[in-house]
């Protein structure tokens, strides 16, 4: 590798020392393997964290992924990505195996010791090309090696199932047999290596079973909370219920009398970026004993400076903000939308609450600090960044901290955070044996980093043809940027707002007013899309009805109007392809039987999006006795090349129902500076009887693939809300939706 910037390079035997840095258990086996190292670039929201992690990764090692082709013919893909149920451990090796013509039965994935962030639906998208290139390099080297041994032209050789064949002489040789000689061959340039024509794919595009599923059906899969080590102990922390509160004093006598309780001590809160509450740690011989010990603690809290904050207060501030001009506006032209000539005007206020991640597996992490080294088992979406946090807390060199990434019972953005790693480091300083920090469900619910809450005023104007001539969106929310922006450098901007609507509109104004709050916020399965997507597509529906047009026809017609010329912003990217959007709208409408009658109390709603991919969805609902039931979601998707239809479907289904749960059921509310909800009894989530039938249709395409884990998040909300309107004539705008909605 001449330059560190090279995307794909080579490591052969000489570079095997890198394996020590990599530190997988496969190091010995790699000695005789053909090894190709390359770089898969991250692509996710948590950019600051990513950069920090990337900074560390780059030191002395330009690669973050490796292919090992073993002399026994098996192949390993060593990845830094983590698996959270998105199926990347299946989709990514499929890309490699396709181009390399590997025997799929003999491909394994090994997770490398450092892990990059996994999120933002980017895993398949950003790795599509590099992994195919790496696979093509394997195939090219194998062909070159075989051709040289046989003295035939490379062009006469073909590959299949980890074998090179020469048809004319009926010779064949396995990749495994070629490995020793292949290791001495020069590797082709990744930039020019010949890739397959997608029409010839045999593995990519075929529904493929996820490799990790059997273990998840037998109890064999080990999650973070399942880490069990000899002599280990368990810890819980009593945290102040109010954000920013601290223990004033505590008495541990009764706690220490609980059988099994070993130690009780205070840990301090940590500020910016780490954001822990601090509190009183209880260490015991079992999780249950630790919980019982915590119950027996007598603590007087100093409730801190934010102990009067409440949802009512925040809502009043949001309403006030929407009554005034926004603190930030995209308006540079000074044209008042009130002066735009219009035949009809529509104005509505939408509202969304704080949401918890409520990952099925509560936060937890296990650490063992001894003799100046710390070993950590972390269910983490960004293990490498966690290593820095832990090393810093323990005042150790990063090389003295090893982080093993475990399986995770859900992430949704929560497992990027540094709070639980910092806490376990604080606790490990007091404990000599391995210690597992367990968050109870109540801890997880009351000390999450929540999806922001907010309100927005949408205004639109239609001309006499029913075209949208003006659109404005003033958002007042508790922004992420005020949580994560450096203190002192925070100022309102448009970062939390959606891009321009995909429909052609001459006058578009975005406005933003931040609301201050002590409630911690962070990424939540796509964040802004979850509230922006709903507002944009519901309001479009409102405009369609104001124009007296069928909402599907309205969207379709607007998408065919000529583009309005304007200068595109620097970071806007290329405009979406409207024809691809129209195609999915048509497909969803057709498959759902749009326009046919559904009978009383029932209705259909439609929505579409170009976020992440091109998607359209039709929702069918029944509303009876004020109860909303979603019966069916019909979705059409153009996400480019589908790598694994099984995984793609599963990701979409998960995204749709996760969203459905949020718009129908979930809300975190604040009172006296603390979260009111404690557990799944007062924070309801979607359950089996509420799950609709799902039909998902993919548009066949060989275009570059798009990730899907978050694609449906901005789609299902508006489709359902629009269907509720169709069924009842009532427009719901406040989440979670209730038929007796009050906006007071």
């Amino acid at each position: 590798m001449k330059t560190k910037q090279e995307q794909v390079g080579t490591t052969t035997q000489r570079k095997i020392s890198r394996r020590a840095f990599l530190g997988t258990g496969a190091a010995a086996a790699a000695g005789g393997a053909l090894v190709i190292g390359f770089t898969l670039r991250r692509h996710f929201h948590n950019v600051d964290v990513a950069d920090e992690a990337a900074g560390k990764v780059a030191v002395g090692n330009p690669f973050d992924a490796w292919v090992h082709v073993q002399p026994d013919g098996s192949a390993e893909l060593v990845l830094a990505q983590s698996e959270m149920g998105q199926g990347v451990y299946t989709a990514l090796p499929m890309l490699l195996a396709e181009e390399a013509d590997l025997d799929w039965q003999r491909v394994r994935v090994v997770q490398s010791e450092f892990s990059l962030g996994t999120g933002g639906s980017g895993s398949v998208m950003s790795n599509y090309l590099p992994l195919r290139q790496a696979g093509a390099m394997v195939r090219t080297v194998m062909i070159a090696t075989a051709a040289r041994q046989w003295g035939v032209a490379e062009s006469e050789c073909t590959t299949l199932n980890s074998e090179v064949m020469h048809a004319r002489s009926s010779r064949r040789v396995s990749y495994g047999q070629l490995v020793p000689a292949a290791r001495a061959m020069p590797l082709p340039n990744f930039k020019t290596v010949k890739l397959k024509d997608p029409a010839q794919f045999t593995l990519i595009g075929k529904p493929t079973q996820h490799l990790d599923i059997p273990d998840k059906c037998t109890g064999a899969a080990r999650f973070g909370l399942d880490v069990r080590l000899p002599g280990m102990v368990y810890a819980v922390i009593a945290r102040c219920p109010t954000f920013g509160g601290t223990p004033a004093k505590f008495d541990a006598t009764k706690a220490l009398a609980v059988p099994g309780v070993l130690q009780v001590f205070e840990i301090p809160a940590k500020g910016y970026r780490i954001f822990t509450a601090g509190g009183i740690a209880v260490v015991a011989t079992s999780t249950w004993a630790a919980m019982q010990g915590r119950k027996a603690l007598q603590i007087t809290w100093n409730r801190g400076p934010h102990s009067t904050e409440s949802t009512d207060m925040l809502r009043a501030q949001m309403k006030e903000a929407l009554a005034h001009a926004p603190a930030w506006t995209s308006d540079t032209e000074g044209v008042s939308l009130d002066n735009v000539l219009a035949s009809r005007r529509v104005e509505s206020v939408y509202e969304f609450p704080f949401l918890a991640h409520a990952c099925m597996e509560p936060m937890n992490i296990t650490a063992h600090l001894r003799e100046g080294r710390c070993e950590v088992w972390a269910p983490s979406q960004a293990a490498d960044a966690m290593r820095s946090v832990i090393a810093k807390e323990l005042e150790l060199a990063e090389s003295s901290v090893t982080v093993h990434t475990t399986l995770m019972g859900g992430g949704f953005g929560r497992r990027y955070q540094y709070d639980f790693p910092a806490e376990v480091a604080q606790i490990a300083k007091h404990v000599e044996v391995p210690v597992q920090l367990v968050w109870t469900r109540e801890d997880d619910m009351t000390h999450d980093f929540y999806r922001p809450a907010g309100m927005r005023r949408m205004r639109g104007a239609l001309d006499t043809h029913g075209n949208i001539v003006a659109w404005s969106d003033h958002l007042a929310d508790v922004p992420l940027s005020y949580q994560w922006g450096e203190p002192g450098k925070r100022k309102p901007d448009g970062s939390e707002l959606p891009g321009r609507p995909v429909y052609p509109i001459a006058q578009v104004r975005m406005g933003f007013t931040p609301i201050e709050s002590a409630v911690p916020r962070a990424w939540w399965r796509s964040v802004e899309t979850s509230f922006n997507g709903l507002a944009v597509e519901c309001f479009t529906d409102e405009l369609a009805h104001a124009a007296g047009e069928d909402p599907y026809r309205f969207r379709r017609r607007l998408l065919q109007l000529p583009e309005i010329p304007r200068v595109r912003g620097k970071d806007e990217g290329p405009p979406p392809d409207r024809n691809r959007l129209i195609a999915v709208l048509d497909l969803a409408a057709q498959m759902a039987g749009w326009g046919t009658s559904l009978g009383p109390h029932r209705g259909r709603g439609i929505a579409c999006t170009t976020n992440y991919a091109y998607l359209a969805q039709v929702a069918e609902v029944t509303v009876e006795n004020d109860t909303i039931r979603v019966d069916r979601l019909v979705t059409a998707v153009d996400c480019g090349q589908v790598v694994n239809p099984n995984g793609a479907r599963s990701q979409l289904e998960g995204g749709m129902l996760f969203t459905l749960s949020s718009i129908l059921k979930e809300a975190i509310t604040i009172r006296d500076g603390a979260v009111e909800q404690q557990n799944f009894d007062d924070y309801s989530v979607l359950r089996m009887p509420e799950a609709p039938a799902l039909e998902t249709w993919f548009v066949e395409s060989h275009a570059a693939p798009h990730g899907l884990g978050e694609a449906a998040v901005g789609l299902t909300g508006p489709a359902v809300a629009n269907a509720i309107f169709a069924a009842t004539g009532k427009r719901l705008r406040r989440m979670p939706f209730r038929m007796d909605e009050s906006t007071a």
């Binding site: 109890g219 999650f223 399942d226 079992s286 999780t287 289904e653 359950r687």
Partner: protein, 159 residues
């Protein structure tokens, strides 16, 4: 602390614990059978579901004292017959065939609930499935596939 003889997955085990300790933590921390999961601790999520004398119960709501003398089957023991791993249970096979799990964390509980349902009702209707499974939360929302897999398993068990 007292001694409790338990029968777990066909094996006799003795644990030393407070009789009030939930079976969940005895399984996970004392016997190190971690297939049974903690999700809420208040009987609201189903992640901790095990079979107690053949009935699906929430192990977070069952004390060690309650379990004394009863047959406890966990996800690790579902495919066992007379202490031997014969094959995967039909429900587990259906879960793999329908590719149900995403993160997988809730699935031990889902499978245990589904297996108990099918043991009592070999031909469950959709609404019987709703009733039996409503106590099992899946945050990855794999419900649609769970329903399919239960029908698949029912079919296979009938055949």
């Amino acid at each position: 602390m007292a001694q409790f003889p338990l029968n777990v997955n066909g094996q006799s085990r003795t644990i030393e614990a407070d009789g009030e300790m939930p079976l969940l933590w005895a399984l996970r921390d004392l016997l190190r059978l971690t297939g049974t999961k903690y999700g809420c601790g208040i009987g609201m999520c189903g992640a901790c579901t095990v079979h107690l004398d053949g009935t699906a119960v929430r192990s977070c709501q069952t004390t060690v004292a309650d379990a004394r003398g009863k047959k406890v089957v966990t996800i690790e023991g579902l495919g066992l017959e007379r202490g031997k791993q014969v094959a995967l249970h039909a429900v587990q096979r259906a879960w793999i065939a329908e590719q149900v799990p995403q993160c997988g964390y809730c699935q031990s509980g889902q499978i245990m609930s589904a297996a108990a349902l099918l043991a009592n009702k070999p031909h469950p209707t959709d609404s019987e499935i709703d009733d039996a499974m409503t106590g099992n939360i899946c945050r990855c929302a794999t419900y649609f596939r769970i329903r399919k897999a239960i029908h698949t398993a029912a079919q296979e068990m009938r055949a």
